[in-house]
Point group: C2
């Protein structure tokens, strides 16, 4: 008998029919002899409805009260799921974060979990109950309700699983698991059977929205296996675990990408200490976040400095940079607002030098110009024209034969 923490996202509890389906899933796990703790998100659309209420009422909702308001979304879904479980003859009790003691820091709207009390949960499990817990919310040392930010229910589930020393944390969602790349773009994308925490973190940070990054960090820290799987099928999904537990060795695991990027490049920047800080400071002063940064030393006196950012900030940033270029004599600005980022992720590339070569060749073979490159230990990111993104992802996906990674029957992809 194992202890399983299951998390069901907003689309999984989005309608009353789906809540009944989730109840059946929970009961199925229970009937396999496991103890089950369930973490639920708010019903799809509910959090947005509550946020809109606040934003229509006042221009700047008080953060403390904002948390009190949006936390009701999960309380609604947890009680409905417990009712559905009861209705199917399964004893269940729902609890919010105040009742359990999901302790967070004092930050509102994006609190971090500090500690999870487990007494009540263990007591309820020992009485044979399924325990249903509101995700996304916590309580701070002052007894105030906090929330963890968008996607926070994943983190709630992992933190609960870690505190309870659960055997597995199952994240139920509306996709079949972690794909080699977005199957909406590349229908040949495979579902990975395993992925390491590190790779998952890179994928998550690069825009693959299956899991909240913080939850992967937390699971990695506690060496807690996460399984990402679909509420709407019986496929085994993807196990996110330690690198050494990843049986199916491979060079690369997936391709993440993000659209709506822009790139700005300064050539002939004086090659002196502090110049990068000067440039970035001008931008960050305007609360603009930049993403990738690359610098090339062209000769001893000047250097090239390139960065990317979200397209929505492009026009403002370009103005700032052009002003700066005037100040820094002889600097030439080049920019492109229609680019995308494509990143190849895989722990295998640590020990295999040919990965970058294969990737760049695949892009070149499709006549795709690489405008910027950055790398980390397990990731290579390139910036290319957005209109060539699909072609690029497809080319790299094929070059690494990612469509053959999964031996399973191709799963359907649900449009979110």
């Amino acid at each position: 008998m194992a202890l399983i923490v299951q998390k069901y996202g907003g689309s999984s509890v989005g309608t009353l029919d789906r809540i009944r389906l989730v109840a059946s899933k929970v009961i199925q796990t229970r009937e396999q002899g496991h103890d089950v703790v369930v973490v639920v998100s708010a019903m799809q659309g509910e959090t947005d409805r509550l946020i809109q209420l606040a934003n229509t009422l006042v221009t700047e909702p008080d953060p403390r009260e904002y948390d009190v308001l949006v936390a009701t979304g999960e309380q609604v879904s947890m009680s409905l799921l417990a009712m559905a479980l009861h209705d199917k003859g399964c004893s269940a009790r729902s609890f919010n974060s105040l009742q359990i003691g999901i302790m967070t820091d004092l930050m509102h709207t994006k609190a971090r979990i500090l500690d999870v009390k487990t007494d009540k949960i263990k007591h309820e499990l020992s009485r044979g109950n399924v325990v249903v817990i509101a995700g996304f919310q916590g309580v701070n040392a002052q007894g105030d309700i906090t929330t963890l930010g968008r996607g926070g229910s994943d983190t709630s589930a992992v933190a609960l699983a870690a505190a309870l020393k659960a055997d597995e944390c199952q994240i139920y969602t509306d996709v079949e698991g972690v794909y080699t790349t977005d199957p909406r773009l590349i229908p040949e994308a495979s579902v990975l059977t395993h992925i390491s925490f590190e790779e998952m973190l890179e994928m998550a940070s690069l825009g693959a929205k299956v899991l909240q990054m913080r939850s992967v960090e937390l699971a990695s820290k506690h060496n807690l296996p996460i399984r990402v799987l679909s509420t709407f099928s019986d496929a085994p999904g993807t196990l996110v675990t330690l690198e050494e537990n990843v049986i199916q060795k491979r060079l690369v695991s997936g391709i993440a990408f993000s659209r709506e990027e822009a790139i700005i490049s300064l050539s002939g920047v004086p090659n002196r200490a502090g110049i990068e800080g000067l440039i970035l400071n001008r931008v960050s002063e305007q609360n603009i976040e930049i993403d990738m940064i690359a610098q090339n030393a062209t000769d001893k006196e000047t250097t090239d400095f390139t960065f990317t950012l979200q397209r929505k900030d492009y026009a403002n940033t370009l103005k700032i940079i052009e002003q700066l270029a005037k100040e820094l004599d002889a600097v030439y600005v080049k920019s492109n607002a229609n680019v995308a980022k494509l990143s190849l992720v895989g722990i295998g590339m640590r020990s295999h030098s040919g990965v970058a070569t294969t990737m760049f060749k695949a892009l070149g073979d499709h006549d795709i110009n690489i405008q910027m490159i950055t790398t980390s230990e397990i990731k290579i990111s390139v910036v290319i024209d957005e209109e060539k993104l699909e072609l690029g992802v497809r080319g790299v996906h094929e070059a690494f034969e990612l469509d053959k990674l999964s031996s399973e029957k191709k799963p359907a992809f649900l449009e979110v």
Copy 2:
């Protein structure tokens, strides 16, 4: 400086505009130098929406989870009101029943308040904050969320006011106060400036839905003045208080009535001990509630036994009674499904014997036949044909000059 507890009902916080209006009302009281604790109901329609979710999901919602679900309604409105107060520059903090410690018994869906913790509230007041509290909900000794039943927010407010030893509990609603009778029927009805707890209890129990009965009992027990007033005007409303504090002495205070009643009468019932129990037992076995009961001893051997009940239970009850009449030889059943109850309430009738005479004469003058009479110390109830109800109420209202009770300008009546 006084401590005022204000309660705003569902229609008072029914829209975002109204929540802003309530915030202004609270600030107005605050600016008069008072400490303010606000108790809110759920936004109008929200509790029904939540109940419908539960009833659509399952046929019999688990009572514990039902309470978890519906309690979210007040949490939404309390946070929105606190936001609106912040937005207007008034520091405010909202708390649900778990956070405050509004302790109830273990009953779900109609719990009773046992104790109210005041530490947190006093602490917040001492820091200069307005404290906004969710009405209608509590927490039991097991830490489970409970609710107090429909109209429970009135009781929450009175219980909080009593625990805090508040100077006044103000119940804001969408009517101008307590009327001498329903102004939708009799536009000449006056708003009472004062009414005693006892009278208010009789009015409440007789269908005047301004205040939940339990809240009046509680206020009476703690000698806590309640003021019933409108969110949408600045009129002083009605003060519900001890009899000795009612300055404006009068014979009668108001006329309550209820439609949709039915009357069943048995004549020639054997006049022996236990016969009334036998009759009522047959009816209550079917979970039918009866309302008024009157018995006349006609002679030594037989008696008449009459009772009223809600019209929806009439057909079933009549069948039961006709069966019983057969068993109790020589009993004759008379019934009428189209009657209404009209009740005159007033502490003055204790010492003035002419009240009943005036009332019956007024009805007789309008050719209204009285089918049943019951009395209590401060109330006379009669059953008449429903089609003559308006005529009867108007006749009695005029006979006691109830339209002249209030010297204020006639207030508008908002349709609920």
